[in-house]
């Protein structure tokens, strides 16, 4: 998976989750940049991404992602690509 593929998946998941098709994610996007992406939606987002991509984020990473870019990097590392 390329960065762009992963970013597209994350965008689709978050759009569906928040029922907001206007969301655009970039590597630099932080949670606070997206309306309604609160801590409850964040847990759901992480779980949905894990299920979509068949990965499992370690506890330490789940608690410390500052930007979408860090999530993309974590997925790449977990997928070994």
């Amino acid at each position: 998976m390329t960065d762009a593929d992963i970013l597209a998946t994350l965008t689709r998941v978050l759009r569906d989750l928040l029922s907001d098709q206007g969301i655009v994610l970039a590597r630099s996007t932080a949670r606070a940049d997206v309306p309604n992406w609160d801590s409850f939606a964040y847990v759901n987002f992480i779980v949905a991404v894990e299920m979509e991509l068949g990965v499992k984020f370690p506890l330490g990473e789940v608690e410390s992602f500052a930007t979408v870019g860090e999530i993309v990097d974590a997925i790449k590392a977990l997928k070994g690509s």
Binding site: V13, D16, L17, S19, S39, F40, V43, N44, V47, A48, E50, M51, E52, G54, V55, K56, F57, P58, L59, V62, E63, L78
Partner: protein, 641 residues
Amino acid sequence: MHAIGAGAFAFVTVKWLPPPIEFRARLEAANASADALERYDALAVLADHRLSFLETLQLDTALARVGQPSKSRFETIRLATLSSATIDHLQPPIRVAGLRRRLLIETYTGGLGLQRQELFEATSNLHAFGANAILLSFVAADFISALALGGGRAEADGVIANAVASASALWSKAKGTGAIVIQQSLLDTFPPVFGGFDALASNAPAHLVARLNLALADAAAQAGVLWLDVARASARDGLELWHDPVRWYQGKLEIAPQAAGVYGDLVARLIAAARGKSRKCLVLDLDNTLWGGVIGDDGIEGIELGQGSGVGEAHLALQRYAKTMKERGIVLAVCSKNDATIAEATFRDHPEMLLKREDIAVFTANWQDKATNLRAIAEKLNLGLDSLVFVDDNPAERAHIRQALPEVAVPELPRDPAHYVSCIADAGYFEAVSFTDEDRDRATHYAANINRETLQHQAGDMTTFLKQLEMSVVYGAARPVDISRVTQLINKTNQFNTTTVRRTEDEIKAFAADPANAVLHFRLVDRFGDNGIVSVMVAVPAEGKADALELVNWVMSCRVFGRELEYEALNILVERARARGITTIYADHIKTKKNVVLAGLFERLGFVRDDTTTAPETTRWRLAIDGYAPRSTQIHAKEQA
């Protein structure tokens, strides 16, 4: 409930539902409809699929956006959950699973670990919410964390006793609100301490959790509290699929989000069962379902059934499951594309057949389409299509029935017959909240009904038939032993049900305890056997009227329609009312889609219209006791000893 996924990520799912087709397009179509009723219906159809975690959340959002529960045809339930763990993520799957059962579940979640405060403080948000179902859950550590491993057996006993006492206090407070109360079993998430010896060591966590669950379940049974058995479900699936340490440490989520879909279904099926919405009849296909192979082609020696082949044993296991369901009161039927003579001969002549012809209440083997046959089966049994579960190995037949008769539940059987039973059993179609004598004897009742039908054909006219039935009705006020059947009948009856107001056991107990009310039950016995308690009347002092009763519930089992029991029951009620100086009986008739059988009932019984109600779909009726002449019937009335 079956793990799906490989390697890093496995999860449990509602495997008995078919996967959705074009979910996104169908969700958009549902959202686009301007009519709230249509939107609810379309979303309910979507809910009947094996949705992913994300799809479940999307559906829940769409449901919230309709936001006009009064415009749906679904019953609304207000469910409050009080828990020691984070449960927000469980609410969308509960609501979606409710929708699957045509229930609109509005949810409230109490503050984390504040079960006692929420229940005991009169001004709490819980009380403001006005729950009609309250679900309590704890984490096992709530009870056992303070117990030292080196403490003695007596200390362990004390922990159990304290847990039961504190749970009981919460239950009784919760029941005091009139809600259905549900206790969730405890998950054993503790690592082994000694190993196998944990089971033998009185203070080892595994030992304590097992004892706590048994003790709490016993107390719950005594208290009339329902039991949500997540411990059993997670033991079947594997604890790792239900409890994810990452989510626990991250935010105190005891039930993992990846198990939430199944969790929601467990909650919704229990509430649905308490509301009388569980299924009642198991309809079975024959070829490649009850046995391996095609009887018309392979012949009686050629089909695979019973000992000797693994596949044969798997099909036999399905027969055993069906037989067990019959013993607990589920009606069995057969619906097969087959030659009737050959199909019936298999039941009679194959030595390995566990199901016998007489186990099957309605046997349909012909070449008609199955939707027509299923309709006929429902009609013959006097059940709604939403009481049926249809089991067929053929995906095309399943798709056809889902399309033609969406009310019928059609489990998505896996290809391998080894998994047939767990697929049907895990779906929880027949979830029960009680097991009464009536359930135990239901199969006998159906057999007796066949004898009655034969007599009716022989007798020719109705009066002769009724006379030859030699009927008597045993009636009386509901005693403690009758409460669970009386409640069950009120909640399960949809046809002869004058108000369709459902009741909890506690409400019925309260009605029965007040001598100003009359809670009467009627047991009909005839020459072919005891039909059990088949009718119930609940009458209370009419509001704002002296010397008047209002019949707030009157139900009668469809099994005894056409026996004049409604006349005899009214004779009995009037006689009792008269003895108490009552002058008038009022009754509301609230029309539903299912109680059309009541059209004209109160007129036939001698009531007159009373125009004092404006409630929707409701007509009010009045009977003057003074002018009432008992109607003569073929039923001999006897008061219970």
